[in-house]
Structure formats: C-alpha cells, structure tokens
C-alpha cells in the first residue's frame, strides 16, 4: 500500500517522492512490501497506547461491546420479567439499580439496553459511511455536475436541524429499530461525503495517483487502493465520534417515543418512562442516563485519542 498521510509528512524532499514514483512504476507489489502499512499503523498504535484517556475510552467501548454480546449471561434477571413484590423499589443487594413500577430489574434492563445502543451506533454509522463514501467519491473524483448536485444536497442536509430531521424520517417510516438505523444513517452521510470529497481533492493531484493512472489503473481501483487508505485517518476519527452522536440521537428518538418500541429495553425509552416518577423513583432516570453518558464518553475519548495518534501534528 502507498504511504498514507502520516508517512508522507516524513517524506520531505523531492528525491524521496520521485523514488516513490519510480518504484510505483516498477512494481506495485514491491511498494506494498516496502511501505507496509503495518509499520505505519504500528506507530499510531504506539501513540494510542501511550494516551491514557484514549485507553480508558477503548476499555469502555470494549466492555460495552462485551456487555451487549453477553447480556443474557450477565444479566441477573429477565429484563422483561415482572416481579410484583418488588415494584418500584430503590437500589438494593438483590436489585442493584432498583426496580420500576412493573417490578422489572433496572440493572438487567440497562445491561440489555447496551445492545440497542451499540447496534444503532455501529449500524447507523456504517450506513452513513456507505452513502457518504460513495457520494463523496462521486463528487470528489468526477467533479462537474455530479459534484455540484451532490454538494448542494449535502448543503440541504447540513442546514436541516438534525433531531428534527430524524423525527420527520421516523414519522414517515414508523417506529422500530431498523428504521432508527436508516434515519440516523441517512442524516449522517453529508459530513462523511464532505470529508471524503475534500481529501480526494487534495490527494487526486498527487504524483503517485498520476503514476497509477498512467499504469492504466481504473478509477474504482484508484479510489479503493490509493485514495481510501490515504483519507482513512480523518474518516476513522469522525466515525468513532459519530458512533457517540448516533447513540445520543437514538436515545433521544426513543425518549420521544419514536424509536425502539417496548418491551425492548432501550436507554432512551427507559428515561422517558421514568419521567412520571422522577419525584418518587429518581433511580429510574439516573442509571440509564449514566449508561448513555459513559458509553458516549468511551467513543469520544477513543476518537480524540485516535485523532492524536493518527495525526500527531494535530495534537492540541
């Protein structure tokens, strides 16, 4: 693979660059070996590991992922089981986070809620990435009319209030997990497209792309093999942060009654259910909110750390 952003910053004089062009013309495979991405990302990884906050973020993300996958094994109760005797009880040894009015164990429901949040975060961001990368590539690589049209549409999406847009789409599609994926995914594409377009524009004119073109590489090959790896860093950072945003929006939609429907445990839904009881049972609102905060914090810290690790020049 060609050297990506960080590596290029090290290549400063012309002889280094011309060396790369020459070699790219000789044999691409050789280059793959020589500038192996592994060493490059090893450096970034080392910087990431040294960053304590990023490691805390990574730990949170991993723990949340484990909880999401193994929720049935970890949770002490069935999240929907109603135990009449313990209706609306505060935290205790039996029920760490207390119970709700129906006698459901909040701890188990919070654990299960991880599943929806993590799933929505990851899938919605994947959808944003798919749409954004495709349209961004179309826009940046081919320019012209497609660029103008796509960027104007991106403007429209950008000017549209985010939560309002999500609410409107959910109203049209109707509630449900799948529709939450789609709504949040569709709303997030414009930033990805802008980001990808601008990095394509800056990379497109570089000599090694010209060289690859001279070799007869097809456009899609150039995008996948050369441009994507080079714009990898900002997109990874943005997407990591965006998972956090998606989790917050999902919770907001569910909070407003438009997202995940009961009885599936969702943090946002639990918060809206707790609204009527904040006087008598404040623990109902406390733990789901804390869970959202911690999970989003994990992704934000990790994203911050990734940015510093992948592009040391950006470090504040």
């Amino acid at each position: 693979m060609y050297p990506s952003k960080e590596d290029k910053s090290k290549i400063q004089n012309d002889s280094d660059i011309s060396e790369i062009i020459d070699e790219s013309i000789i044999l691409e495979k050789e280059l793959d070996k020589k500038y192996s991405k592994s060493s490059l990302y090893k450096d970034a990884w080392k910087r990431l590991v040294r960053n304590k906050l990023a490691m805390i973020g990574l730990a949170i993300v991993i723990i949340m992922a484990i909880i999401a996958v193994f929720a049935p094994l970890i949770a002490p109760y069935d999240p929907n089981a109603r135990i009449k005797e313990v209706s609306q009880k505060g935290p205790s040894m039996q029920h760490w986070f207390g119970t709700d009015i129906l006698g459901r164990d909040i701890f188990s429901r919070v654990l299960y809620g991880t599943r929806i949040s993590m799933l929505v975060g990851v899938v919605a961001v994947a959808i944003s990435l798919a749409i954004g990368l495709f349209l961004g590539a179309l826009s940046g690589f081919f320019g012209g009319i497609s660029d103008a049209v796509i960027m104007r549409i991106a403007d429209i999406f950008f000017a549209f209030p985010y939560i309002l847009g999500a609410i409107a789409i959910m109203t049209v599609l109707g509630p449900g997990v799948l529709n939450v994926f789609i709504a949040i995914g569709i709303l997030g594409w414009s930033s990805v497209a802008r980001l990808f377009r601008s990095s394509i524009l800056s990379i497109k004119e570089k000599e090694y792309i010209e060289a690859a073109r001279a070799l007869g590489a097809s456009n899609s090959r150039i995008i996948i093999k050369h441009i994507l790896p080079n714009s990898f860093a900002p997109i990874v950072v943005y997407s990591t942060m965006n998972v956090g945003t998606a989790i917050i929006v999902e919770a907001a939609l569910s909070f407003l009654g438009l997202g995940v429907q009961p009885p599936t445990p969702s943090w946002g839904k639990m918060l809206s259910e707790s609204l009527n009881y904040i006087n008598t049972a404040p623990w109902l609102m406390f733990f789901p909110g804390l869970a959202i905060l911690i999970t989003v914090l994990g992704f934000v810290l990790l994203g911050d750390g990734l940015r510093d690790a992948l592009d040391p020049k950006l470090k504040r």
Partner: protein, 315 residues
Amino acid sequence: MFYYILKRILQIIPVIIGITILLFVLMYIIPEDPARLILEKGATPQALQNLREKMGIDKPIYVQYWRYIKQLAKGDLGTSYRYRRSVNSILAEHYPNSIKLAFAAIIIETIIGILAGIISAVRKYSFLDVLVTISTTILVCIPVYWLGMLLQIGLGLKLHWLPMSGMGDGSIKYYILPAITLASVSTAFVARITRSTMLDVLSNDYIRTAYAKGLSNNSVIYKHALKNALIPVVTYIGIDLGTLMGGAILTETIFAWPGVGRTIYLAILQRDAPVVIGGTIILVLIFVFLNLIVDIIYAFLDPRIRLEGGSSLDL
C-alpha cells in the same frame, strides 16, 4: 460587499426549494388523510371528498407543490390541519419563546464558555485547566434531556430554588434551568474552541512583539490574543444560535416550554403538514441567515478576509 450579500442570498434559494421538496415528499408519503384529520370521525365520504377538493389535496403532488410555492412566495405558510389557524400566526405565537430561550442559552455559553476557555489556555495544565477539560468532555457526552432532568430534580424538586418547568409569568427564574440545559453542550464546545485557538494564538510572533512593547500580561491576553482567538469562536456561536433555535425540541419537551421546536414536534406526531413544513422553512431560513451574518461579522473581526471572494455555502 453588497454584491457578496446578494450572491449569498441567491444561494439560499435552491436550499430552501430543496428543503420544501424534501418535506413535501416526506409529508406526502405519510399514509394519513388530512381531510380525516380536520373533520370529525363520523364525517360522510362525500363531506371528506368535498373538503379534499376544497383543499386541493386530491391533486397530484407536483400540482400541490406548485400551489404551495406560489403561496409561499406571498409569505403565506398555509393553514394548520389541526388548529384550523394560519401557520403564520401559530409560529408567530411560539417563535418568540424559542428565540428568547436561545438567546438566554447563547449568553450563558458565550460568557462561561469563553471565560473557561481563556482560563484553561492561559493556565495550561493547571488544576483549573484539567477541571475545564474534564467537565467539557463530560458535557459533550451528556444527553441534554438527562441533564435537564437532573437539574429539575436537584434544583427544582429537592431544593425548590427554581421552577421545574413552564414559562410561568416569563420571569428570569423560569429561563435558568432550560437555558442551562440548552447551553450545556455548546458551552463545552465554546470552551474547547476558545482554549485551542487561544493556545494557538499565544504561540504567534505578534504576541511576543506585544510583550516586547512592554504591555502588561492582561493587555496582551485580552487585547492582542483574544481578538484573534475570538474569530473562530464567534463563527461557532453564530452557527450555534441557528441550531439552538431549531434543535431545542428535547429541552422544550422536558421543560414544557411553549416554543417552536415543541410545536413542530407535536405537528409531526399529529401529521399536521403545513405546520411542519412552514416551521422548518423558517428554522432553516434563520439558520442560513445567521450564517451569513456570521460571515459578515467575521470580515469585520478579521481585516484579512475579503468578502468578495467568498465561497459557496461552505458553512
């Protein structure tokens, strides 16, 4: 300057048209008959049909859209299905509440955010800096409505310091909790942006020149550094004002604030298309115009910027 503003205003038109098309299609897809919304449940099919014809909603979507655009050009946002009132008057009633709340939030984020950012930058790595960094990171991740609920419980319910919700008589005490809630995330962003641009600016040569002139630390920081550092901060705050005016749905819901965000949200739930479309158009207009104003302020703050060469809607 005039040419630039004109150009920017002309660029807004396609965005507005795009948004109306988007909303129109969205509201058209909703499988709900507006005539049924308006008439009582027992209405005869004939009555429904008559109303549809009167409203023009039996026509194809493009005919309806054209009618709406013609109407919009005259400044008429149509009539609400639910309230049978003009959308203009509904928005006129609720908009001021949202704007007041947004301004209250902007005041908080400007004062606290900029101050925290400056302190944090000037005393880099001090206890205060660490405190600002930690609290801004947490504020960015906190769901606003949860923060609102915590404030309601703490300051309203337990301590009885402030009213829990509503606008009451419109006095300041009703504004405090919703404004803090609405401002929370933005305050964190303002503090972070101020800190990083301030650190950036303080490393510039002209700061060294200012010290070499014999200026006091305060003149250097609050005159020479701050004016440069404020440029990106002002940009953020301007754009944020637009966002806060439209994005206050959650805050307005939690605090039962009779604002426009809540009005549009309820209209969506009630399939009241004219209110949704009209309200959103106004939101977007405000958002885009504020961006334009920010760009003009920008040019005043930074003499190096020449407006004539302005880019498109790169917000």
